[in-house]
Amino acid sequence: MFVINCPYCGERDQSEFSCGGEAHIVRPKQPTELSDDEWAEYLFMRKNIKGVQFERWNHAHGCRKWFNMVRDTSNDKIHAVYKMGEKPPVL
């Protein structure tokens, strides 16, 4: 359990949030032209990193807005929080 600094609401308990998994997976521009392999890659395959990971979170029991987070999954330490559409920070 940890505290998350929501970019809209400030510091709140992690239990108010839900994790949307790996961030910056871009939706294919031309879905109709995608092969099955490319669909599998987009839909299912994940890096699932042990270490610093970029991920999406939603303040589900708060402002309900989505944002991005950089978190170390080996110790749950949060390195950065930034809004959707903003450039990911260089660490």
Binding site: C19, D36, D37, A40, K47, N48, T73, S74, D76
Partner: protein, 417 residues
């Protein structure tokens, strides 16, 4: 098997105050080369090595374990064994395992304390009732024992359950699989380790894999903390760390690793002689032979490798336990822990070869891998030895995420495993 355990060996060793029992397995240094190497010395990995040696005559093999055997999820689960899955593919897989469990103590000459005390799954709303009845029918069509119990029968089978209609999630009935139950999880790892060791398998503990060497699309060996080990076949059974190993080979898997928690209470006299699970309120409970209540919670909702998990998940589980079993209200919890489970998008496992020659994965067991340990090892050994899946694990290939032929057990399973 040399050093066979029996009443005679027990008596013989009693004369020397049990000080001369032989080590059940050795601690060899790794050889330069093996026919096959299994990465991960949990129940599934050790079972894989055991069946490779026993059924496929591969004796020059090693199991690499970064910690000690059975120290990962094998020693962290709530030891529940059942096979009442909805889909044909899952029913085939899990019942194959259950059939092996039924004779495993005899086969291994090691008491794994398999106890067929039954597993009951509760229904708390109309949809639960419909789903569980449907699952009961599906199970029986697949030859798996399953019965539907109404509220009164649930109360008769497990009298301490609160079946009052006034509670937030009233008990409207449940299913019962009588062949299901529990086993001693450490003993499963130790029994398989002893059996594999007796057939010449090298069990190498405190040996962490640091890299996988490839030559084109063929594996050539492993970089480990004990040096380079040459092999043409690598079977990875690394549970929550499967993606970490996959990344070493430049492979991505459809997995997310999350903490799953469990807790045990102080020991008390026998009070619950079965396993009761509930999907809707997400709590399950059984009692260990030592008398502790063994309570399982759900996964944390975020990716993490921390082996701890959040307090609010435990709190939610205990709320449900207290409403269903008011008699436990003054029990004290002794220990809480977390294990890292690797979850597939369809909540079914992967027992499969990959597009890299000689690299096999057995992963994605998520929150319910323990029950499948013997079957998983048997089928994974078959897959590695023949480079082709057995018909029972053919549906659990990695390619299903490309073809779309998923084995969707999310919610269809009795509980979220």
């Amino acid at each position: 098997m040399k050093n066979k355990y029996s009443i005679f060996s027990l008596i013989k060793n009693a004369f020397s105050q049990h000080e001369n029992w032989k080590q059940a397995w050795g601690s060899p240094e790794p050889k330069k080369e093996y026919e096959a190497v299994i990465v991960g010395g949990g129940g599934h990995g050790l079972a894989t090595a055991y069946y490779l040696a026993k059924k496929h005559n591969m004796k020059n093999i090693a199991v690499l374990e970064k910690g000690w055997i059975g120290g990962g999820n094998t020693g962290r689960n709530t030891t529940i064994i059942r096979s009442n899955y909805l889909w044909d593919a899952s029913a085939g897989l899990y019942d194959h395992a259950l059939k092996i469990w039924e004779n495993l103590s005899q086969e291994l000459n090691y008491n794994i304390m398999f106890s067929q005390r039954g597993v009951m799954n509760l229904a708390h709303n109309l949809q639960d009732v419909r789903d569980l009845k449907r699952r009961t029918h599906a199970n029986r069509l697949n030859g798996i024992d399953a019965v539907w119990l109404d509220t009164k029968q649930v109360k008769e089978f497990c009298p301490i359950i609160n079946t009052s209609p006034d509670i937030r999630y009233p008990v409207l009935g449940g299913t019962l699989q009588k062949r299901a139950g529990t086993a001693r999880h450490d003993a499963v790892a130790w029994g398989y380790a002893r059996g594999a060791d007796a057939m010449g398998v090298d069990i190498i503990q405190n040996c962490e894999v640091k890299g996988i060497k490839r030559n084109g699309d063929q594996v050539e060996g492993l970089e480990t903390t004990k040096g380079f080990i040459k092999t043409k076949k690598i079977g990875v059974v690394a549970a929550g760390h499967s993606s970490v190993i996959a990344n070493m080979a430049g492979l991505k898997l459809p997995l997310e690793s999350k903490p799953l928690q469990a807790l045990v209470s102080e020991p008390v006299k026998p009070i619950i002689d079965t396993v009761v699970m509930s999907n809707a309120v997400h709590a399950y409970v059984s009692q260990s032979d030592k008398g502790e209540l063994v309570i399982g919670a759900g996964t944390d909702a975020y990716i993490s490798y921390t082996q701890r998990g959040s307090h609010d998940v435990v709190e939610g589980t205990l709320k449900a336990i207290l409403e269903l079993y008011p008699i436990f209200s003054r029990m004290k919890m002794l220990r809480q822990w977390g294990g890292i489970v690797d979850i597939c998008p369809d909540a079914s496992p992967i027992i499969s070869k990959t597009n890299i020659k000689g690299l096999y994965f057995n992963c994605g067991w998520g929150t319910g891998g323990f029950k499948a340990t013997p079957g998983s090892g048997d089928l994974f050994a078959h897959t590695i030895a023949n480079n082709e899946p057995h018909k029972l694990n053919a549906a659990f290939n990695l390619n299903r995420f490309v073809s779309g032929d998923l084995v969707d057990e999310h919610g269809a399973a009795a509980v979220a495993h």
